[in-house]
């Protein structure tokens, strides 16, 4: 069991407040990813849950018990750090058994737990090595092993993969995910990589400047972003945004080129920000005129960078082969129903349920 409830968490360093009242409910067994740009307070929030930072205000509860005043070791959590924080002077086995030794468990219990964890993580052959004799991926696994031998209520990960190269990152991503499916331990995972967030999370918490911007499943965030920020942050390449205006229920950009019907009823003539994803537009005979600025084929897909008459960049991805070359004049149309609409001032979504 390990549900986590955060109520109005605030954290200040001196006079500077870096968390401005975070509310979050995490179900037992859920894999929650905290994502957001650098400096938005992800680590601070995670470290507050771990008890490594004292919060200035609010309540942190695990399984309904408020743990604000408990020291880290009494919170029944385990944490994996970005730099792994393996004890350099201890072997892999000693590293993994450290918490059990501190808890004064009998040596044979420690051995069997360490061996079981090593089995799961494929570390059995490395138990006698020292951290400096391991590769990055192996260190990463030892750090996870250290967390799982304790069988805590909650796993906390702070950007555990950011020190690995791209290929290993993808591999470890699936390993962590598989581990979670096997152990079903509540997990809070911090990353600034939206792909990690999308692929791993049951639910994503998008943070920005010490606030929660939006919470939802990966596809909820993708399909119904609550703000320009979330829309631009989730998805790669990012969503396109253009200034637009409502004209009799149609959204028009530039000199009155029609993008399609507004997804939401708006006052006539109202200025908005319109957004559409790169895969939701295609070349067509009519629609928004643009020039091809760049063509980047990846094989499966081709990414086009287009420039509108006003000079705005628009990215388009397509699985079809492109006959055009750079400089060609083209027209693009947005797939019906795929337009997003945001307020110009607040940048909040005007679309659908979020309205």
């Amino acid at each position: 069991m390990g549900s986590v409830a955060l109520k109005n968490i605030r954290k200040s360093y001196g006079a500077v407040e870096v968390l401005h009242g975070i509310d979050l409910d995490i179900q037992d067994g859920e894999f929650t990813v905290l994502v957001g740009p650098s400096g938005c307070g992800k680590s601070t929030l995670l470290r507050s849950i771990a008890g490594l930072e004292t919060i200035s205000n609010g309540d942190i509860a695990i399984d309904g018990t408020v743990i604000n005043s408990l020291v880290p070791k009494d919170r029944d959590i385990a944490m994996v750090f970005q730099n792994y924080a393996l004890y350099p002077h201890m072997s892999v086995a000693k590293n993994m058994g450290f918490s059990l030794r501190l808890a004064k468990e009998p040596q044979d219990r420690i051995d069997s737990k360490v061996r079981a964890a090593a089995e799961i993580l494929d570390l059995t052959a490395l138990l006698d090595r020292y951290p400096r004799q391991l590769s990055g991926g192996q260190r990463q696994r030892v750090a996870m092993g250290r967390a799982i031998v304790r069988d805590p209520k909650v796993f906390l990960f702070d950007e555990p993969l950011s020190n690995l190269d791209a290929k290993l990152r993808v591999q470890m991503r699936s390993e962590i995910k598989e581990l979670h499916q096997r152990l079903k331990t509540t997990t809070i995972y911090v990353t600034h990589d939206q792909i990690e967030a999308m692929t791993m999370a049951d639910r994503i918490v998008v943070m920005r400047g010490g606030h929660v911007e939006q919470i939802g499943t990966p596809l909820e965030l993708y399909d119904n972003p609550a703000s320009v920020f979330v829309a631009g942050f989730i998805g790669s390449p990012a969503m396109n945004f253009l200034p637009a205006r409502n004209s009799d229920g149609s959204l028009q950009v530039g000199k009155g080129e029609n993008l399609g019907p507004s997804p939401v009823s708006l006052r006539n003539g109202r200025e908005v920000i319109v957004g559409f994803r790169p895969e939701d537009i295609r070349l067509s005979d009519g629609g928004l005129p643009a020039k091809v600025a760049l063509i980047e084929p990846t094989g499966a897909e081709t990414q086009l960078t287009l420039r509108t008459t006003e000079g705005n960049g628009v990215i388009m991805t397509t699985r079809e082969r492109i006959a055009h070359s750079v400089g060609d004049a083209v027209h693009v149309a947005v797939t019906p129903g795929k337009l997003h609409c945001f307020d110009t001032e607040t940048e909040l979504s005007l679309t659908g349920s979020v309205q």
Partner: protein, 285 residues
Amino acid sequence: MNEQPRTLYWIMLSLIGIVISIYVLFPVFWLFLASFKTQAELAQLPISFWPASPTLDAYKALFSPTHQKGQLLDWPQLIGNSFFIAISSTVIVLFFGTLAGYSFARLNFPGRDLILGGLLISRMFQGAALLLPTYRLMSMIGLQDSLIGLVLLYSAFGLPFATWIIASSLREIPKELEESAMIDGASRLQSMVLVVLPLATPALITAAMWHFVGAWSEFAFASILLESNENKTVTIGLASFVELFTLEFQYVGAAATIVALPIMLVFFFGQRYFTRGLLAGAVKG
């Protein structure tokens, strides 16, 4: 790159090194050799370099009770005193230096960096200027002719630098290691003892060596504070040869060799850590 100038460069450099070493070490070596000579050989002209018939008489004499009666100073006692002072003050310095260094490296308190800087500056005011004030102070509290007094004094002198070395090396140890230990169930003290200190061994050894050598060879304060013969230290013993045995260089040589021995042993076994410890401290702070 051209090989020849580089080789030449190294040869030159080595030669200079050798010349400097000989220049510095010759008197030491000569004294060492003198300790194996007889009084007669030392007195004869021309001066001989190697002992004609090496003998341990000088060493035996230093440690023989009859010798002590005649010459006032009891060398086994001097050595014992020096060891007592050097070892106890090293233990004190290491203990408090570790706690203080840890606090400076890890805890946040007002004026932390100022105090740490002040500690280092305080070292600049040591030496001759402090001799008389210290004497006054120690006599006021009745510790002037006492080994304990000297232990406390050396500890006070040694603490700033030890604290500084230890603090700068602890700063290099990622704080996540300790945080991880605390999440794993360690108390602050356990995380310090089980995780931080083992990683700071080079700095601890450096600090200990530094202090031990300093305390073992300190002369000025010992000579003005210690009055009774049974309280004196090896450095005072060495200096007293100036009056006692002007011509008996074999005793001076033997005593100097004995006094140098602990220092050489310390460096021999600690060298590895010593360079590492100083470097670790040098990177930051």
